[in-house]
């Protein structure tokens, strides 16, 4: 083992979407989980403040808001847990950081999303999952409603080559 530090690359999943404004409306859809039940599920919440608690998908994802800059930037920590993990369980996976950045451009809003670090084996399904979430956001922002999550998931699973019956663990 060397005492020297090493610089290594880790995968990052990135998306850019242009959505109709106003920016406050898009901000509401990425921060208020009640507006995205098709994605996060009913047992999900992001406390709207720096340091706020994040619990998504019934506690499958837990974290903390590290940057709360309405209506421009949201960053929180992302830790993955199993359904039977206790509150004090340490996640078996590395902590990662979803980042949502919004920029008003005329009447539109450019949403730039990044999530890193992502373990190599999770990259396709990670990209599939966020693609699905962004599809739902886009549908809701544009039309006020979205289809069921599985409609987007199945389409995006094919796009990224993900077998929904055999997900990476």
């Amino acid at each position: 083992m060397s005492d020297r530090g090493e610089m290594t690359k880790v995968p990052c999943v990135t998306f850019t979407r242009t959505l109709p404004g106003p920016i406050e409306k898009v901000w509401a859809h990425i921060t208020d989980t009640r507006l995205l039940p098709a994605w996060f599920g009913p047992d999900s919440a992001i406390e709207p403040r720096q340091g706020g608690r994040v619990s998504l998908m019934g506690g499958h994802i837990r974290g903390m808001v590290t940057q709360w800059q309405p209506p421009r930037k949201l960053v929180y920590t992302w830790n993955v847990f199993g359904p039977d993990d206790a509150a004090d369980t340490v996640s078996a996976y590395p902590e990662s950081y979803p980042t949502f950045e919004l920029e008003a451009r005329g009447g539109d809003v450019v949403l730039t999303f990044t999530h890193f670090p992502v373990l190599e084996r999770f990259v396709p399904q990670n990209a599939m999952g966020w693609h699905t979430m962004l599809d739902i956001i886009e549908a809701v922002v544009r039309t006020g409603k979205s289809e069921e999550r599985r409609v987007y998931s199945q389409r995006n699973a094919a796009l990224y080559g993900v077998d929904l019956n055999n997900l990476a663990r």
Binding site: D3, R4, G5, M7, K9, C12, P94, Y97, T114, F116
Partner: protein, 68 residues
């Protein structure tokens, strides 16, 4: 824990791809300097700031020369 009262410290600091390598190297050298002294600090010794310029130069040589 790796025997006795010692422990292994693994430090990982993650930066976005958009961050310039030369800027990451500044932190890499800084963390190296920190790791060099943390054992002494944990033992109760006050360790003054260590000049990191040689470490920065070494990491710049290693990573910027191999980046192109």
């Amino acid at each position: 824990m790796i025997g006795g009262n010692g422990c292994r410290l693994v430090l990982t600091h993650t930066y976005p791809e958009s961050m310039a390598r030369k800027d990451i190297i500044v932190f890499l050298a800084g963390w190296h300097a920190f790791m060099d002294i943390i054992g002494r600090g944990a033992a109760g010794e006050f360790v003054p700031y260590q000049d990191e310029s040689a470490l920065r130069a070494a990491y710049l040589a290693k990573y910027l020369e191999t980046a192109s």
